[in-house]
Symmetry: C2
Subunit: 320 residues, 2 copies
């Protein structure tokens, strides 16, 4: 009988879940909201959706377990720790607290549950079903609203001493640079993310008088998508913003290579849609900042998972 | 019967070797030169010393094998690759080449041989006998002429895809900073090493007119030891140089933590003698640049191995 897994991608607004087979086919999906006031209500809604999916797919195979990703997940103990953006992740005083989420979901569903964060899940997803099949040493960078990372060494995710390894979005890319939500300055994610690109665009518009399509947009509302559209229309400012982003990202990637000597760096996330505008500068900057032993030897790969289901697939791969 | 290992620390001028027991006692040592013109001669001299040590210690226990460290060692295949500083590491045209050193030593001695670089050996040494016993996630930084590193994750050395993981001395500490021997600019080792401290001292003397004991020394000959002696004598310039070094090192260490979330960072090497002058600034800078989850939680340890035998111990720990 075929083996099946459930992947659950838990965000601040909703949880997407799906039944997946060993080959990465997403068989059946569902969505539940995740804005319940208490974790008991969230888990109860989630368990109902899980049971519903299991009933629908019971004839197709044997359910092996649940893999879930969530913000602020501690991969070592299956808990959510002090998540600022989860309504149900709080104590009775409304303060973010520690929630043993994997255990609660397991009790409610009767299935084994493994929990990790979304970038780690993305890395496992690429390793299991995607661009990194057969690559046992790579670094996954997710370039979305922020920059996340999952590090695979010898085929295994790196969790570190406390379960929080792989916070490469908060490595310093520009000493004394932009303030980051984390409280530090110059973090990679303040530049090489969707929000970072928008910030770079605003900065570029301020620093020059060059005409740009972007000047037609209310400055506070400029998004990375606007910058991408402008670049596609040949807007020089927008193109420069992506080139600047690529250079910073490539330089940071060179330093990541010096740590774990990966075979590849795998990129995923909304920003990669605009890769035609930053890829070459990124690769050039990376190689310019690598030791000779690595120059022109590190593969740059882009996620090959269908974007709509990538998070579910990534989470499900925890099960195998 | 007691188990014994031989540790060999191979440098450009000499190879130091010693018989070590499982508890890290160095029982018998020897030194051979390593400036032979061919690798055959070097290995032959080395094998003679190994056999001599084995004879002397045969009554004490059973010899398990040889662990060796050498510059430009590829830890995955036991070869030396393009070492610029080894006279015998060259082809018939005098160019640095690939030498299957582990295999050659093994054939000449009849013992199993494992080869790695010195920073990796140092990391294993601390894990086996020293400051990192029982610590399965840590980063070793060797602060000597250069800056080397060995990364332990889940109790195992990280080799990476190609065997060269852990080149943290060449992570960019200062964008566009000092030229490094490796061809890059601003590498950590151009600041946080013995030579880096000497460079910082020369720079400090140039940038100010403040009186300093260091002005009595021929500028080109100022060493990190001179700076250390001056600092001990209360010289403000020398003290500032170490504080500057500590700040840069601490900031770099914070970014290393974001990679592998280690329990500790272990420091070793000549520069650590001067730690009274940089430790506090280093720790403060590290914590100032860490995410909240890690602030004041990363242990800073100093090597606890006797310096004279640390390299032999480190190399020998490859055997166990």
């Amino acid at each position: 009988m075929k083996k099946l897994a459930i992947g659950i991608d838990i965000g601040g607004q909703s949880a997407k879940l799906g039944v997946v087979d060993r080959d990465g086919n997403v068989i059946e999906t569902a969505v539940v909201t995740s804005i319940q006031p208490t974790v008991q209500e969230f888990v109860s809604d989630l368990a109902r959706a899980v049971n519903n999916l299991r009933e629908k797919t019971a004839h197709l195979g044997e359910m092996e377990g649940i893999g879930a990703d969530a913000p602020n997940a501690n991969c070592l103990n299956g808990s959510i720790e002090y998540a600022p953006n989860l309504t149900w992740g709080r104590d009775s005083d409304g303060q973010p607290t520690i929630i043993p989420l994997a255990e609660l979901i397991s009790r409610a569903t009767g299935l084994r549950v493994t929990l990790t964060n979304d970038a780690n899940a993305a890395a496992l997803g690429e390793h299991t079903y995607g661009a990194a099949i057969g690559i046992d040493n790579f670094i996954m960078l997710t370039l979305g609203t922020g920059v996340g990372s999952g590090i695979i060494i010898d085929g295994k995710l790196v969790y570190g001493h406390d379960g929080f390894a792989g916070e490469l979005g908060h490595v310093c890319a520009v000493p004394g640079g932009r303030p980051c939500n984390c409280g530090l300055y110059g973090c990679l994610e303040t530049y090489a993310s969707a929000t970072g690109v928008a910030r770079s665009a605003r900065q570029a518009l301020h620093e020059s008088d060059k005409p740009s399509i972007l000047r037609d947009i209310d400055e506070d509302r400029i998004s990375s998508k606007d910058v991408y559209e402008a670049a596609k229309n040949g807007d020089a400012t927008a193109i420069d913003v992506f080139r600047f982003t690529g250079k910073l990202l490539g330089k940071a990637m060179a330093d990541f290579v010096k740590f774990s000597a990966p075979e590849a760096i795998v990129l995923f996330g909304g920003l990669t849609h605009a890769r035609q505008f930053f890829h070459d500068d990124m690769v050039e900057a990376m190689n310019a900042n690598l030791l000779k032993i690595w120059k022109n030897r590190i593969k740059i790969l882009y996620s090959s998972l269908p974007e709509s289901n990538a998070a579910i697939l990534g989470a499900s791969s925890l099960v195998w």
